[in-house]
Symmetry: C2
Subunit: 224 residues, 2 copies
């Protein structure tokens, strides 16, 4: 059933990282096709890639010849089509809580640190490294503060964000904290976030999905 | 079953507009509770609102005492819990295509025009009106260009984005073009987008959801 699963990704992209975790949690075999976001003017802009995914973003999942863009759409698709551990809860209110958290990261936090946004602010408005870091840290501070409040208040929070198994939220939360670490964000104000991330860290699905362990990871980032 | 449906919204917010369209397409009765994003330092930041929705964003749907934030989570919830026309297709690949389009607008286009983002660029980096309009138009041009390419290439595009009934994609696309109009974006390069939006315009669910027809719409924006 999983024949032909190919993930077009970039090792460092948060959205790609989400999709890899989801594929691993479902126990699916897949092939990785690297797309370099910086080389050759950005390979995601090349005609061949755009023909597959007109959004010109990573990741793209190809299953049996059909291409799907957007990491959250990929995760929902995997959960609907393949057996294995559920990535979304069964109860509609719990599903809504999981989606709300995932969407909050994907649509309110992550866009502010996307490469193309930082590139635009630098090229058009002269943002230097400090300006870019300040911009990212501002939005991450808002984002993680509100995530912490939501997780701390939710009746569904357990070992993980919704109950006692990792799923959609953790597919987003672990990459989100990985991205934050690049900007040296102080994570001590977010103990619930970090407890959940800590519960993910040693799980094989998360270890194998880590950006430093991908086929296209540059040598200097690989674990010794 | 729909007892107690309350939508906390702001008349002009794109995400609120999405949720109103969805509620109307499902034929659900609901009460609107306005949240003014500008008055009183932004009512979404008030303790009472945050206790309900720690993300401090609109909209929030309350159903039988349970609060759900994030418009796409609200739309999926409504589709899972209530009868009436389906907002998402049945086929998993078509569902993925619909979600991919919706997420592309919600996570790649919309965040760039959010009020708080423009406020930050003005306050911290001195963006004037021209800078802000240039910033928004840049991201909208990318976003609508890629949406047009995806819709023009998709085997699922019919009278609407996925088949011949409006749903999740149109809940996002109509507010997205409404927001673009505020920035005077030239829409002639996007004929497929505009054809689909045109097919929505006269439908009662869309008419009733329009920002100019809400209880909190200022008098100067109301239709004569």
């Amino acid at each position: 059933m999983a024949d032909g699963l190919v993930l077009h990704h970039y090792w460092r992209s948060s959205a790609s990282y989400r999709a890899r975790i989801a594929l691993n949690l479902k126990g699916l075999a897949y092939r990785i096709a690297p797309v370099h976001l910086l080389e050759d003017g950005g390979q995601q802009h090349h005609a061949g890639y755009r023909a597959m995914n007109p959004q010109a973003l990573v990741p793209t999942l190809v299953h049996a010849g059909q291409a799907i863009g957007q990491s959250l759409a990929i995760i929902e698709y995997l959960d609907e089509v393949f057996p294995g551990p559920r990535l979304l809860p069964v109860d509609p209110l719990q599903r809504a809580a999981a989606r709300s958290l995932a969407l909050y990261m994907a649509s309110e936090g992550q866009p502010m640190m996307n490469l193309r946004v930082l590139q635009y602010l630098e090229a058009k408005h002269g943002f230097g490294e400090d300006d870019k870091a300040g911009w990212v840290r501002h939005w991450l501070t808002v984002n993680f503060g509100n995530l912490e409040a939501q997780l701390a208040a939710s009746p569904y929070t357990g070992e993980f964000a919704v109950g006692d198994a990792p799923g959609l939220v953790e597919c987003c939360l672990v990459p989100h904290t990985f991205a934050a670490a690049r900007f040296n964000l102080d994570m001590t104000p977010y103990p619930t976030v970090m407890r959940i991330v800590g519960n993910c860290r040693e799980l094989p699905a998360f270890v194998a999905a880590h950006p430093f362990r991908q086929p296209d990871t540059p040598a200097e980032f690989r674990p010794a």
